[in-house]
């Protein structure tokens, strides 16, 4: 929170002058006809992306020279807000003069950067970053139409946050390397989720395949599993969970203590265990002949406690119930 959050609102104050200028006077708005393309011996590509019902729809026109793959001209039509129109305008401009392969490398971040007034000030407020994503998608669509391939060909990795173009593998890696525990931390480290926020959890601006909340939870589980597997048998008693400690204690009782007690018709069982101030308290209960035996509170007790301390861990304290 800060003063600006308290005042709130005002999207438009955060638009760059270039965004305003492109919105007021778009340069590349319009259509390219088959005739115009044919006149230059070029191929016309018309790519649609989005839908009116989503609030964003863009149609990108390319006039491509089939001999060189160079985009000779580009125009667009856009149903969308001011930033969507400005982004489409810059997208068309950035495509002109590039080959189709080069154009495919244009990302929404390039489009946003081209709209900045100064290199370090974002052209649009965070939640509007989303509008430029359409630009990236429609280029892929146009390229796929030109090359007659599926759009997925151009997707080399799974993108979780489209606004910041952060991939699934990056997010998982950052969580693991930095031991991240919250979605806010993921956003701080990667910028994923900082913009339209759709990728944080279901129910946002648009539906996503992956959500940061799920990725975080699953990755944390994965990390825990890896940790358990990695330490495995070499794990120190102190690092074990209570269940693992219980297993160790039970194992020693079964192997080293029960055979002796059983020989005298007695038995013992662990009733409860607690970790207290660096000690592990083991509560035991005698069964059979041991239950009434006088030595159960002296010799037998000492033997059990010593065995557990020696064979399992020094931190064990045994209590009789």
């Amino acid at each position: 929170m800060a003063k600006n959050d308290l005042i709130g609102g005002a999207l438009w104050e955060n638009y760059s002058d270039k965004v305003s200028e492109r919105m007021n006077n778009p340069k590349y708005m319009g259509e390219i006809t088959e005739e115009e393309a044919a006149a230059k011996g070029a191929k016309l590509i018309v790519a649609d992306f989005g839908a009116d019902s989503c609030g964003d729809a863009v149609r990108l026109y390319w006039m491509v020279d089939p001999r060189t793959d160079i985009i000779l001209d580009s125009k667009y039509k856009s149903f969308g807000c001011g930033t969507a129109i400005a982004s489409s305008d810059v997208t068309a401009e950035l495509c002109i003069g590039k080959t189709v392969d080069e154009a495919v490398k244009i990302t929404n971040i390039d489009v946003e950067k081209a709209l900045r007034d100064t290199p370090d000030t974002p052209a649009v407020p965070p939640q509007k970053m989303h509008c430029s994503v359409m630009a990236y998608d429609v280029i892929k669509k146009a390229a796929s139409l030109y090359k007659e391939v599926d759009m997925s060909v151009f997707e080399d990795e799974e993108i979780v946050c489209e606004c910041a173009r952060v991939s699934l593998s990056t997010i998982k890696e950052v969580i693991k390397l930095n031991d991240l525990k919250t979605v806010e931390e993921i956003t701080q480290y990667t910028k994923a989720g900082a913009f339209c926020k759709s990728c944080i959890k279901p129910g946002g601006h648009e539906e996503r395949k992956f959500y940061l909340e799920d990725i975080l939870r699953d990755t944390r589980v994965e990390m825990e599993r890896e940790r358990l597997n990695a330490t495995g048998g070499n794990k120190t008693f102190a690092d074990m969970t209570l269940i693992q400690k219980h297993k160790e204690v039970d194992k020693t009782i079964t192997e080293s203590i029960l055979p002796i007690l059983n020989a005298d018709g007695g038995s013992v069982e662990v009733v409860d265990m607690k970790d207290v101030d660096g000690f592990t308290d083991v509560f035991i209960s005698y069964k059979g002949a041991c239950a009434g035996c006088a030595a159960s509170r002296t010799g037998t007790y000492e033997a059990i406690a010593d065995t557990l301390r020696n064979k399992v861990d020094e931190s064990i304290r045994v209590h009789i119930l």
Partner: protein, 392 residues
């Protein structure tokens, strides 16, 4: 044309007479009305006058209460949470009913109560955008329902709900009725002898009063467990030193709004209808809701192929202030719940534009606005992909 303000459902300009009436209470009669000395006591007759004006403005009985608070959002929170507090104090699980076209001050309060375990029923709207009294009748469980909260006139559409019928239904079932009257007061008659609501809420700044002051009407026999504790002000129902200048301002603002009700219903309506007719003259435009059951100042229109924020931008470039419920214009990018509830298609959620007039709107302003709308619709439809020819 310098600037045209057509966003009066958001807030209004303060009537200069109201501003003038408030003036003395800042630097001359600034005493705390709870003080015993003359600085305090001299303010009290003016508070009395303000209350007289407020009571007259909504035709409240002298035995009823109008609590002066900060705004209708506070009033709505106070009423709804009061019923929750009572249910906790009485260890009784209750059910509460509201509609799906409420202002967030009501809907988000109920969503919060749901998290606390309250059973909340959300009434739908019919094809006309109205909460059907039969739906309310069906939803009420006389044994369980404690409170019904419904918006009197919707802020987005201006559509007026049949509140008189709600009052009768709630009476029959012994259930309390709370109406959010923010958009009704000053635009249509609000008469508490006609409408048997137990609680209504309003904000002064929607009827040419100042921001930050509002009223909560409580009918005699209905109670409130306070939201704000800590003082004896407002009969112990709302702690906090009374904002006397604003209370005085709200009193006069409501009186003036009452005097202008006829003007609102004739002259403002005439200008609204002129703008609406001109909008309907444009191709592929839809206006939401029958104008006869709308507040006389409001138009919600959908312009096919034009995204709301882009349109708002163009209007603003031309000095015109309106409002869009478009998801793209909001901080959260979320669709306006009223549009979702009305089920008028996802398109409206992106192409809706609301124009709301006031008694200060002039015919010149409307003519200018009509001209700008026509030009802007043409420009944006030229850019829009919606109306391009089919390719694939």
């Amino acid at each position: 044309m310098e600037r045209v303000y057509l966003d009066n459902n958001a807030t209004t300009l303060v009537d200069p007479l109201v501003k003038e009436a408030m003036e003395p209470f800042f630097t001359k009669m600034y005493g705390n009305p709870n003080s015993l000395h003359s600085f305090g006591t001299e303010v009290r007759p003016y508070m009395g006058l303000a209350l007289d004006r407020l009571y007259a403005g909504i035709n409240a009985d002298d035995e009823d209460d109008i609590i002066i608070n900060s705004c209708a959002s506070e009033g709505n929170n106070t009423v709804i949470k009061s019923f929750y507090f009572d249910s906790v104090l009485n260890h009784k699980k209750v059910q509460m009913i509201t509609s799906s076209i409420e202002h967030p001050a009501v809907s988000e309060t109920y969503e919060f109560l749901e998290k606390l375990g309250v059973d909340v029923k959300w009434l739908p709207v019919n094809a006309d955008g109205i909460v059907d009294p039969d739906e309310l009748r069906k939803a009420i469980d006389p044994d369980k329902t404690s409170l019904v909260s419904i918006i009197w006139a919707n802020n987005e559409t201006g559509l007026i709900n049949p509140v008189k019928e709600y009052g009768e239904i709630c009476r029959e079932n012994g259930v309390k009725l709370h109406l959010d009257a923010v958009q009704a007061i000053g635009k249509i008659p609000v008469d508490m002898q006609e409408v048997m609501a137990d609680y209504i809420t309003f904000s002064a700044h929607k009827f040419h009063g100042p921001k930050g002051v509002g009223g909560l009407y409580i009918r005699r026999g209905s109670t409130i467990t306070p939201l704000m504790h800590g003082g004896e002000q407002m009969a112990g129902i709302r702690a906090g030193t009374v904002n006397t200048p604003y209370m005085v301002g709200m009193g006069l603002a409501l009186e003036l709004a009452g005097k202008n009700l006829d003007f609102e219903n004739t002259e403002v309506r005439k200008l609204r209808d002129k703008l609406e007719d001109a909008i309907l003259d444009i191709e592929d435009v839809e206006v939401i809701g029958d104008r006869n059951i709308r507040t006389p100042n409001t138009i919600l229109a959908s312009f096919r192929g034009i995204e709301g924020e882009a349109f708002l931008w163009d209007l603003n470039q031309n000095g015109i202030a309106a409002s869009t419920g478009s998801a793209c214009s909001s901080e959260s990018l979320e669709s306006n719940p009223t549009f979702v509830a009305m089920d008028i298609g996802a398109d409206l959620a992106h192409t809706g534009m609301r124009f709301s007039l006031s008694r200060y709107t002039t015919e010149d302003e409307i003519d200018y606005t009509i001209d700008v709308i026509r030009k802007s619709v043409k420009r944006l439809r030229d850019i829009s992909s919606t109306n391009s020819k089919e390719y694939i």
